[in-house]
Amino acid sequence: MPDHETHDFDVVIIGAGGAGLRAAIETKERGLRTALVCKSLLGKAHTVMAEGGAAAAMGNVWPDDNWQVHFRDTMRGGKLLSNWRMAQLHAQESPERIYELERWGALFDRTSDGRILQRDFGGHRYARLAHVGDRTGLEMIRTLQQQAVALGVEVFMECKVLRLLKDADGRASAAVGYWRPSGDFVTFNAKAFVIATGGIGKSWLFTTNSWECTGDGDAIAAWAGADMLDMEFVQFHPTCMVWPMTARGILVTEGVRGDGGALRNAEGRRFMFDYIPPMFASETAATEEEADRWYDDHTNNRRPPDLLPRDEVARSINSEVKAGRGSPHGGVFLDIATRRSPEYIRRRLPSMYHQFKELAGLDITTDPMEVAPFQHYMMGGIWVEADTGATTVPGLFAAGEAAAGMHGANRLGGNSLSDLLVFGRRAGMAASDFAGGRLGTPTVEEAEVDQICKAALEPFGRDSGESPYNVHRDLQETMQQLVGLIRSETELVRALDALDKLDERTKKVSVTGTPAYNPGWNLATDLPAMLTVSRLVTRAAIERRESRGGQTRDDYPKPDLELGKVNLIQRLRPDGTYELEQVPLPPMPAELAALLEEEPK
């Protein structure tokens, strides 16, 4: 067995994207011994790919904007399933978190009077996204990274966490993982842990997510017994590249539509006008003329239907393609070329321009893009207490995409980046308090640690098993075909069967070489997490027999009144299976509920 090292910290944060970095800054500033553990190099986490911006009701462009409107937009966008307290905290605290980034060196685009400029995005009544062109995620991760480095946070790069262990009292006490460069095992003992591992996209064939998004955090929390919330709600981003095939799934920012881009079908028709749902009819433009006027005058016109929440747009695109009105490569057209000047497009959307030019040989200032919906974001995940990010496992906290509740059934664009900041900080605060109040040195059973390491190395001992890449590919095909944007009971049940078989195959994969920087072995150790998460998604998708937000059921095409009042919780049973329970939504205070009723001006 390779060498095994052990470290002791107050707080260990798993994941170094926006949420993990923000949590680490908080715990470090509070004087706690902090370790930041991440699978990639520092600064490469998936946050770096975020494009459009961070939503915060600063009111720099439209002074009428405030947290109440942002709260309303978030709750409605989430089809009223969001945790109201998280949506409230998020709407109230986002502006301060953005200004904080500026104090740490971020350079956002400016208004003409020198304040932070804000851009329009789907589902937001006002232009609300602080941004830097279309590379806001890069700006955010670099700012947080530089601040964490300045504070002296200890970073353990290219280190994968396999399992979380509890002490005799059931408190999270150790994380066991391995260094990817050497393959050596490492144990982090700590008084509190924050999971900030992001998404689960790598279980689908076409996704905007990077290789890291294998749901590690969701899985280690579930294995440790944490409650998992609303796992059925997976977001398919309506506009991703479809061609060339190998670029399929690369994100095309919603900013294209926020900045004037229009969706068209093969006939050139702006089809989104045909898909305005009753819930959003009163705030959506009825004609192309009104929609076009809105860009300059939000007060007297309503938002273009191209900027409906993502779930609505994704479903509409899917319907157009199914009806035979799609683009040559199976998407629809996203046209900004005929609507804005080349200079404007290159200034506002530089990386979109670059991305299409390089990968598709297409000039977006002269030709329309082809786009379609692909897996993008996980609304569900680890259940957390709204104010603290505490999970149901003592000593374990979660924030960012791995945590659930904030976005309900569907996330609005731009709400993710501000979510990372608001709840990354809050999880850091609460983890600090927990660690500060925990006496003694966390201890776990040595034998448990040994068992985890032994199990991880098993693929090396098998010489006739199949490649983990084959199993992964089949998992991706399964989820893509059977647990996609549009779902049905028959397909979901078939998916569960397929996942059972994939489970068996995963237990028999074999890898070659040594543990040192071995992607085949790394994938073999990612597979159990992907399978657990895929199963939780599929189970919940079967149970929610309605269509709402990220869950669209062919066999139950309408929202169900009763199911609209519950969240779905899954938790591990001692026998290794998961129980599934409907839990009523937490009751919302009357003054907040009143905000939802309000019709826009």
Partner: protein
């Protein structure tokens, strides 16, 4: 041991066990049987600090692919343990830098159909950094240099607690903040590419744009010019612009960062008028010593120092 990156050159420390005939993969791997269709060949450096060699992998050609796509198919097929870094596969994270046909490039943004056809595409790790395995190098040098930088120290905000900056004033800094830390500028910089001994006191182009970004930041109060002169090795750069040429973000590293930085450093240290001005006028920026005390590397070395 650094790999030789010249196409067709004899491999460093040739390890025969790594040399598998290309045809073998086609015969042994299901789904890759030669069907007479078009194919592509990657010649990938495989090895570790002890040495290695180029290994050829012939794969069916697929329209529109980038180099990273083919590397992924090699991993999923004949070589599951082929080490390479990647994350976003969209040119945004800077993880998959390699030397492709002898030139640094992002594997995710280099299309196969834009490379010379009919000959193997040679893919080697960045030469300036020590090899860990195959295409993965130890880039901790860059993280060490980042920790030696005295961080951003903003002046107080206005009475309403909000900073006001004009777009034109943030644009210079925004250009440098486009940097995705692919470290290809560091890789081609001849000050360290062929001179390991210079690494101890040379920050490199990536850090020069970071220093210039802070120099041009409308809010910053740290004066780093003396530190830049004494500790970053800026004077070793003789402006060959190799860094600018390889930057995938098109940052004008030499013209907009290195040359202005050199001028500022010279002005600060040797210009008698500027010296007199500083003596007479009120100082608005913090001194070199004050700034240096802020740099995290001098107070708390971290894990990356290993």
């Amino acid at each position: 041991m650094s790999p030789d990156t010249t196409a067709g050159a004899s491999p460093v420390n040739q390890d025969v066990s790594l040399q598998v005939p290309a045809q073998a993969h086609l015969e042994t791997h299901p789904g890759l049987s030669p069907d007479g269709g078009p194919s592509v060949t990657l010649s990938i450096w495989r090895g570790d600090p002890g040495g290695g060699a180029f290994v050829e992998y012939q794969m069916p050609a697929i329209e529109g692919e980038v180099v990273l796509d083919v590397v992924h198919r090699v991993q999923a097929g004949p070589a599951p343990d082929l080490a390479c870094r990647w994350n976003c596969k969209a040119g945004k994270c800077g993880s998959c830098s390699a030397e492709i046909n002898g030139k640094p490039g992002l594997m995710c943004m280099t299309r196969m159909d834009q490379l010379p056809q009919g000959v193997p595409v040679v893919v080697a790790p960045l030469r300036t950094f020590p090899v860990i395995r195959d295409l993965v190098t130890d880039v901790s040098f860059n993280y060490t240099m980042a920790r030696q930088l005295p961080p951003f120290a903003p002046r107080p905000a206005g009475p309403d607690g909000i900073y006001r900056m004009m777009q034109i004033d943030v644009e210079r800094g925004q250009e440098f903040r486009k940097c995705i830390e692919c470290f290809m500028c560091q890789d081609v910089c001849h000050v360290i590419r062929d001179h390991e001994e210079n690494k101890a006191f040379y920050a490199g182009p990536r850090m020069f744009i970071r220093y210039m970004e802070l120099e041009s930041h409308p809010l910053d109060t740290n004066d780093r010019r003396e530190l830049i002169r004494r500790r970053t090795g800026l004077s070793l750069c003789n402006i060959t612009k190799c860094c600018t040429e390889v930057c995938p973000e098109g940052i004008h590293i030499t013209d907009n960062a290195i040359i202005p930085l050199k001028e500022r450093v010279v002005d600060a240290s040797y210009d008698p008028v500027a010296w007199l001005g500083r003596k007479i006028l009120r100082r608005t920026k913090r001194s070199a010593a004050e700034a240096a005390a802020d740099a995290p590397a001098f107070s708390s070395p971290t894990r990356e120092d290993r």
